[in-house]
Amino acid sequence: MKVQFELNGHLIETAHEPRITLMEYLRSEEIYSVKHGCDHGECGACTVLVDSKSMNACLILMHAVNGRKIETIESFSDHETMHPLQEEFLNEGAAQCGYCTPGMILSLEALDREGAKIDEPEVRDALNGNLCRCTGYAKPVKAGVASLKASREKGGES
């Protein structure tokens, strides 16, 4: 089954067996920010952006990405500068083992791109599909609210 899609700004053409998921493909391409967690859509460790919406890559078969735009956190920064959400997570101490962090940041980025209002309930809703078993949620929520509010204010000024 042949598919063509955009991955982190690059056009990809590839062929796969029907059973292959986007998560399996991405990890085979050494995109390791996409974690193999539960494989059931429960934990959100494999979160990616599909046309700017957060989704679980373990639940997306490769045939469904045809014509789509896929983004992982690898596209968010180079080795010199970080994405504002990454910076705020660092400042806030919002990551411990880091396993869930890429998924959380992508879910928050999707919320920002929706143009929805930024407040704690919205941020908590955006992170509802991302499980964390060490840091917890207080600091990621705080970092998300702070970063996205700052991003909006900055956007409003320009």
């Binding site: 429960e42 679980n56 639940l59």
Partner: protein, 244 residues
């Protein structure tokens, strides 16, 4: 990991999809609800109907028309507060709401889906691919491809009892009381969805029969006996009606 899936077919039209669906081991596939809720090793063929169904939402008169390709998140972004509450209770994860369609949610027919109980209670109708007129969701036999979900004007109230807010509820009760049309609906960890509708004041015998059916739909388990759950349902309905 989805090793049972050997083939994905994109039919040219809905008639072809219906024929393909008759084959053993085949299921319809749109947003991925199938993948989320089931991992049946007997399933080897997915029939992708994404390109054959619409994903629009519109008000026509007093009815909300939702095409079955709509994801749950797209519905949340519209403005029916009570419907949205049911969706958020059914599917807390936004990642999943971005994938799961309303058609998939109905087709999976989970009795512990707050959204399904809401749709039953609201008197929802389904437009099917090979049927000339819409049918009541409560009378749907699972046959045919759902094209459109029609939710009439409603006054649905919902209550749920779960061990955690984010956990599936073991008792879900819906009550709709609009212009003398009264509907009660009970689901949760049940064998079926129990449904009661009357256009007049409910009779004592009618209510007793409904509650007997409710009790029979529950099992005795670690969450309580079926008699306890029957009483819980009765209490919730009384609270919703403002009796208590």
């Amino acid at each position: 990991m989805w090793s049972s899936i050997k083939e994905i077919i994109k039919p040219d039209n809905l008639s072809e999809a219906s024929v393909l669906l008759q084959k053993k081991g085949s299921v319809l596939f749109a947003g991925g609800s199938y993948l989320v809720s089931q991992k049946d090793p007997q399933i080897h063929t997915l029939i992708d109907i994404n390109h054959l169904i619409n994903d629009t939402i519109e008000m026509r008169g007093e009815n909300l028309h939702i095409h079955t390709g709509c994801t749950l998140q797209e519905i949340v972004n519209s403005n029916d507060e009570r419907l949205n509450s049911a969706i958020l209770a059914s599917c807390p994860s936004k990642n999943i709401r971005n994938q799961r369609t309303i058609g998939g949610e109905i087709a999976n027919f989970r009795t512990d889906s707050d959204l399904l109980i809401f749709l039953f209670t609201a008197g929802t109708q389904l437009v099917l691919s090979q049927s000339e007129s819409p049918i009541q969701l409560s009378k749907w036999d699972g046959e045919g491809i759902i094209l459109e979900v029609v939710i009439p004007k409603h006054e649905v109230k919902m209550e749920r009892v779960a061990l955690l807010d984010s956990a599936p509820a073991f008792v879900i009760v819906g009550l709709n009381n609009l212009n003398g049309n009264r509907t009660a609906c009970v689901g949760g960890k049940t064998s079926s969805i129990t449904h009661y509708h009357t256009m007049i004041q409910p009779s004592e015998a009618g209510v007793r029969k409904f509650m007997d059916e409710v009790e029979a739909s529950f099992n005795d388990d670690h969450l309580g006996s079926s008699i306890y759950k029957r009483k819980l349902v009765g209490t919730l309905i009384q609270e919703m009606e403002g009796v208590r």
